[in-house]
Amino acid sequence: MTRPISKTVNVPVADGDGERYTLKMGPQHPATHGVLRVDLELDGETIIKCSPQVGYLHRGFDKIAENRTYAQSLILTDRLDYIAAMANNVGYCVAVEKLLGISVPLRAKYIRTIVCEMSRIASHLLWLATHALDIGAMTVFLYCFREREVMLDLFEELCGARLTFSYPRIGGVRQDVTRNFIDVLQRFVAEFPTHIGEYETLIDTNRIWLKRTVGIGVLSAAEALELGLTGACLRGSGVDYDIRKHRPYDAYDLVDFEVPLGSDGDIYARYRCRMEELHQSARIIQQCIDQLPPGPIISEDAPDLVMPLQGQRKVEAGSSTYGTGLIRLLEDKGEFPVGDIYVSTEVPKGELGFYFISDGSGRPYRMHVRSPSFIHISALPALAEGSMIADLIANIGTLDVVLGECDR
């Protein structure tokens, strides 16, 4: 007796005659993009049950942040989604600025938008490279890394690091951009659409790529919303939700860009969405370069990096030691505000939210990170159950998870 187990894949399944077996895929598996373990219950090659096991990379950021000042906790966000650390940094700073009521100078907003979009390009290129590599298209991998290298070199020039940037600062950014940075970026942005065309030449209409992606991992718009997906995973299903557009932060309301939407909700639609986002990112960067205004790069009332509260006390006591280094203080606020706040930003993977409970002490009483990868990996059973084991690899790839962010 056979029965269909899924609407999308009509595979006959043998009933309870001992053919089922379990397979633990990972945590050391090249296609799981980090230390992800997936416990599979299989019938032949068909997945009956799939449960992702996370936590191999847990470092307890939420707890560490409770013992660090807001400025110090910035370095933790580098290590969330290490592929796009800049976007996490900016997201964290936007959240803390909202908590403290700091307004950022316009120039800093533009610079942040530039680096966020550069980060999106770097992240999407790495996603495309590894996703294609998982499915079997190795050539794309090499070309994607060629362009990603340019991004990393630019980041190195800007802030001295290639991966863990810690570049934005609460109330602005750390370093101004240089002429060389802008020139190289300008050249890159001008020629980047050609490079996207090259990747598309290799896989866009390739019949093997189409066989592996079209109609696989289908999620309807309602399902995607129910699973809490965000970012390109949600937009591939046709839901128009982009925080950059709908709740703009930084300079996103000052630039013109489109939100690409798919309709099929399969792996190919999500792939097309991300490719289109690369075009849009290049467009945003070009506009930001053209509109980059003069002015300060850090707000006057940004908190002191070293001792946010002690600086205030010293000024009140009339001490002359104040005023060294990059010290600033909250002018009319003696203390940090009390309360809680949730602020989300659009990182390459989806919606990254920071939830703070502040007790006015200069350190978060509680910090929670709503990371897109954690939500996305929990959608894996919905995608994979009932499909073949070979498609599981494609499904993990299309969700674009980074386990550093997933486990925090």
């Binding site: 370093q175 019949r207 690409p260 002015g295 280094g325």
Partner: protein, 206 residues
């Protein structure tokens, strides 16, 4: 914006494998392009100014030792708490004297906050990045080791070390009044607010 798909291939294209041929043609073209691979151990990468690498304490030309004044700002700001300073007060001169200055480099996260808050530019993250070792002791930097790191960096830079200004000593785009006297260095024009890069569509109003 709705995403666009490329048109479906027709029978002829299917038979001729046209899309695979296009891909192969592109790869074949790349065979004759200039290689971009860097043969790392033989070919060193070009390190940008301000790269956050191995730690060093700047050797003061006049005294021959570190510039550190034991203000403890780097210790306070360090997010991974890897800097340890011991000092005593010199009553006669009325200043602090550093007894020991240790950096546990294995705990360091290379955020560069320490060099940024240092009021006298005593500390720097150099452009040296190859210092892997076989034991933990050799990556624990005490004061002598940190000064030796600076000498190694000075050797690497050659004569350029005299005009060396780390971007974290004097951050680009920060007005001079925000900085201590030691940090008000003579920097290129584009590092100041007046000389900063602006967009093509923006007219600087003066």
């Amino acid at each position: 914006m709705q995403i666009q798909y490329k048109p479906k291939r027709n029978l002829l294209q299917t038979i001729l494998h046209s899309e695979i041929m296009q891909g192969m043609a592109f790869t074949l073209k790349q065979l004759f392009a200039k290689p971009i691979t860097r043969q790392y151990p033989q070919e060193k990468p070009e390190i940008k100014l301000g790269f956050r690498g191995q730690h060093a304490l700047v050797r003061d030309q006049e005294t021959g030792t570190s510039k550190c004044v034991a203000c403890m700002r780097c210790v306070t700001v360090c997010p991974s708490r890897c800097i340890h300073i011991r000092f005593h007060e010199d009553e006669e001169r009325g200043c602090r004297v550093v007894d020991s200055y240790d950096i546990e480099a294995l705990r360091c996260v290379y955020c560069g906050f320490c060099e940024e808050v240092c009021p006298v530019n005593a500390l720097v993250l150099t452009e040296i990045f190859e210092y892997a070792a076989y034991n933990r002791e050799s990556i624990f930097f005490d004061q002598e080791r940190l000064l030796a790191n600076w000498d190694a960096f000075a050797d690497m830079k050659g004569s350029a070390i005299n005009g060396y200004i780390n971007p974290f000593w004097r951050p680009r785009g920060i007005p001079e009044r925000e900085l201590t006297a030691a940090k008000r260095l003579d920097v290129p024009d584009e590092w100041t607010i007046e000389g900063q890069v602006v967009g093509n569509l923006v007219k600087r109003d003066q």
